[in-house]
Amino acid sequence: MTLGLIGYLVLCLVVAVMAVLLLGTMREVALLSRPAPNVPPTEADDGPALGSMIPHLRFESDNGFGPIDTRGPERGENTVILFVSPLCEGCQDTVGVLNAALRQGIRVRPIILLSGSDRVCRSFLNLFPIDAPVKIDTDYSQTDQFSITNRPFGLLYDSTGKLVRKKLLVSPGDMEVFIDVESGAPGENIAVVG
């Protein structure tokens, strides 16, 4: 075999390898562009049982909102507890929807439990300013008290502290529906646009 032929074969091999690499990358781009598949509902298994009372937790918020007491003096209004992770894009979208609702004056007491490494969580708070008290839960101690394993997950307690709704918030639309609950609960008669 001549040197040229060997070179040509090596070239074909390299091109074939690179083509596979390109196809792999294209497949990954296509997969990521696809909308999130319908995640089977896990609300029934995750989190506390509907009707259970809100656990009594007291902690200092990590974004300057002062102390949080789940059974504190603010009890008497509906409470939304949102469990999020800083690196989960669904969580970022969900927090954005809640933030927008809060800025528009929705009457609800929000508490956000942010699970992850301290460094990333604090950066998250800088990048995504939230108009609600946030507790960074690096060791999952607070989150574990609610038996939450999936995120973003929302719990809605009524004014008496009873759990009336829980949901795995797969998309921003889920959060819109979650806070737009029936009479007496936060988010009544709101619609999210834009």
Binding site: G7, G96, L102, V120
Partner: protein
């Protein structure tokens, strides 16, 4: 240096590799434009540079990637573009290797915030792409620093002012494209979402906080 001193095989190989690199770099820049803050968190999670620097790195990287992709796909200033690509890929290999050595399980951020975990597959991909960038750089430098090889295989050299203009045009294009994608992105629309109250008076006793 003249084109005649190179075999057509080497030149063809470098051209194919440059197009592959262009597709990869442009393809990986778009998700980063769409979710800039999400990608910044991924960079911070690598724990290699301080968070403030990570933020700037995350903001600038997609523009650099798109510029490299545009330079490669247009065949303009391929030598410089492939060297930049090589430098980036070496930095990715180092970042992934360090975190694999630390035993950490984190998102690679290869395609922005939502991506797969780092691992040997990611490392091998980066090494392969780095090798491709290296081969392209070597051939392109030997061919001529500013040779627009897609235009003229005879080896005519692009004048330096024209090369500078080509680089500036690609940077400008990437800034425009990146700014538009970011402005239209789901991240910005979600965070800037307006909530309209249909009923002015809400039930409940007090304000939100």
């Amino acid at each position: 240096m003249c084109a005649g001193e190179f075999s057509m095989a080497a030149l063809m190989l470098a051209r194919v590799l440059s197009y592959i690199l262009a597709v990869v770099f442009m393809g990986s820049s778009f998700p980063k434009f769409r979710r800039p803050r999400s990608f910044a968190l991924v960079v911070i999670d690598y724990q290699l540079i301080p968070p403030a620097w990570s933020l700037w790195f995350a903001r600038g990287l997609p523009y650099v990637e798109l510029t490299i992709g545009l330079l490669l796909v247009t065949g303009l200033v391929v030598a410089v573009a492939s060297l930049l690509a090589l430098a980036l890929l070496v930095s990715f290999v180092i970042a992934v290797s360090v975190n694999l050595r630390r035993g950490r399980d984190l998102d690679c951020g290869c395609l922005g915030g939502r991506s797969r975990k780092i691992g040997r597959a990611v490392l091998i991909e980066d090494l392969l792409l780095g090798a491709a960038a290296g081969v392209t750089a070597v051939v392109a430098f030997a061919w001529g620093l500013e040779a627009p090889w897609f235009v003229d295989l005879g080896g005519r050299i692009l004048p330096v002012p024209a090369a500078g203009f080509a680089i500036a045009a690609c940077i400008l294009m990437s800034v425009i494209v990146g700014t538009v994608i970011t402005a239209l992105s789901r991240e910005s629309t979600t965070l800037g979402r307006r909530v309209v109250m249909r009923v002015p008076e809400m039930t409940g006793s007090k304000g939100g906080r």
